[in-house]
Amino acid sequence: MSNENSNLYHDQIVLHLVQFAVVWAILAMTAGVYISAELVWPTIDFGQFWLSFGRLRPLHTNGIIFGFGVSALMATGFYSVQRTSHVPLFMPRLAWFCCYAWQLIVLLGGLSLLAGWTTSKEYAELEWPFDIAIAIVWVCFGVVFFGTIANRKIRPIYISNWFYGALIIVIAMLHIVNSLAIPVTIGKSYSLYAGAQDAVVQWWYGHNAVGFLLTGGFLGMMYYFLPKHAGRPIWSYRLSVVAFWAFTYSYIWAGPHHLHYSAIPEWVLSLAMVMSVILLAPSWATMINGIMTVSSASEKLKTDPALKFIVLSLAFYGLATFEGPMMAFPSVNVVSHFTDWTIGHVHSGALGWNAMITYGTFYYMVPRLVGGELYSVRLANIHFWMALAGTMLYIMAMWGAGVSQGLLWLSVDEIGELSFSFKDIMSSMAPFYGLRLIAGLIFLGGTMLMAYNLYKTIAGKSAIKVQVPAVDPAFGVSS
């Protein structure tokens, strides 16, 4: 490798990962729209096992989290860690291996879910061969990421890298512990934990996969791209530091709030509830930090769809991180648990926060990667309103459905007899499920507009060569 090349950022891999992320978003959201249609018209699986709701639903969630989410996090993580460290990626070939091995895992893993290979543990459905492959690729991801940081030319490690770092470390820990199992065949294993113990381990994983992947990882994205795009430094670096440690410490405790009113010891549930409420502080501190950063660049907000997406995502982040702790109270959970309210809550996070901040970031990053302008700002603005409308309609439909279910299930008359049959309650949900289907279609339509827009922006171009800039001696590593 020539000297000149060793001083260039590795951006082609970022561009590839962005494209994979968009493809997975469309495929996994299409699966989501399809299963939401199945709840309206239950026979549209046409008797085909691979179109059955029980198999497509894990495909939808895994496709979004691991296909779209992780590809987007790898892309933005690689982009930002190079720029905040002022060095090219450490072991770029290993980075390419991560990129393609990961796509293969998502592809084959998705097919294996359709074939019925599943552990049934939520967001950890993939069977043991995939679990091993995930662990290997994840460690490689960590080597590239932390290797780049170790090689950095800037003395302090910027805050975004801490969140990406926590994503890598904590997800590795959760994944390995939760996936421990005895294999029976290539597509079947039995969990090392049984019953109630398995439940505690699974929700320690499940809650924190949301915490450190969908929240922490995407906060890393926010901490780099929001200040960068707003052209302002983060409002309070000290607040971001405090919020980071508070977040990392307290999130882990909250998992058992998924198990209220179950056969888990009371003290574990109470502890989880208290820590869930405490978690509101670092969550909102981060949101406020982000919004204050952008407030001094509010002129740009009027015209720039990328920044609009990022700021709106923070609003939904604030909503979801408020709603979550509320749902952790037993008195609220007793109504919300097992209902569509949970589904709505997840989507206010997944659509409103994860997808929107990623869309904003892609609209910002892709034109810069290929050294051009965004193909159409107008289309991006239309996408913005479709994303907002789709998300709002989705959440409201699920609030309506969820609160109705929760209250009607619990309703008893004056002599303690059940007021309504389960069948009657659920057959009144059709209007909500219809609205949710429309909401999903609007959101998916917007995502397709973005795919077209980015496709035209990239169209035949590769990532331009970007030189690592000179280091300001005030922040440089003394060597």
């Binding site: 239950p42 059955s52 940081i149 320690w204 574990v268």
Partner: protein, 209 residues
């Protein structure tokens, strides 16, 4: 050393950052999970809880394969309405042979923890193939292929029992040896129904709530 200068160190040292994250993020899990392992109430089976037979276990694995737990919980909460609707609330000791647990997180259909014995085998046979033939407004998918596939296609039961006995489930050598033969002549739907019919039968008969 003040907190800020300590933090400055972490902020500039990759190894310390990794160590710090690992330390801080593992405390909650350790405090909550370690006491659960070896927790008596979670490991002592209730009166009538027993290991799954080869046929029931095959049925359970079909339940997992088809994603039934996506829409059906197996966790009855200790609330008046739940106990009236479904039966006695769920105890930890009923799940000691459940790998994985199947409590679920969503009820698009009703809870199934105490479904055992509530409907006849024939009702299940019709319902699983075409739910709307017995429940007009149901939005459950049909599973026609379960009636066509042989139960042994869901995996060799002998291997499954062997794996579970390694995890401490008390299967006898005879049970393991005859496991595959037990599935002979059965369709997948038969195994699934056998599992559904034994669900929730682990409490002693005198428990009413």
């Amino acid at each position: 050393m003040s907190a800020l200068s300590l933090h400055k160190k972490i902020e500039e040292n990759t190894g310390l950052l990794i160590f710090g994250i690992l330390l801080v993020s593992s405390i909650g899990g350790l405090v909550q999970i370690l006491p659960m392992l070896g927790h008596d109430a979670m490991e002592e089976a209730t009166a009538n809880t027993r290991v799954y037979s080869a046929v029931e276990l095959t049925g359970r694995d079909i339940y997992i394969r088809e994603g039934c737990s996506v829409c059906h919980s197996q966790q009855i909460r200790p609330l008046i309405a739940e106990v009236e609707r479904y039966g006695p609330y769920s105890r930890a000791g009923e799940f000691v042979y459940d790998r994985p647990f199947l409590w679920g997180s969503k009820r698009t259909g009703p809870d199934l923890h105490r479904v055992g014995g509530k409907f006849s085998d024939d009702w299940h046979r019709i319902h699983l193939v075409d739910p709307r033939a017995v429940v007009e407004t149901s939005i459950m998918p049909g599973y026609p292929w379960l009636a066509k596939r042989d139960a042994i296609q869901a995996g060799k039961a002998s291997k499954k029992l062997r794996a579970l006995s390694r995890l401490g489930h008390p299967y006898t050598e005879e049970e393991i040896a005859s496991a595959d033969a037990d599935l002979e002549g059965l369709k997948e739907i038969d195994a699934l129904i056998a599992y559904l019919q034994m669900l929730g039968t682990g409490l002693s008969e005198d428990v009413s709530i």
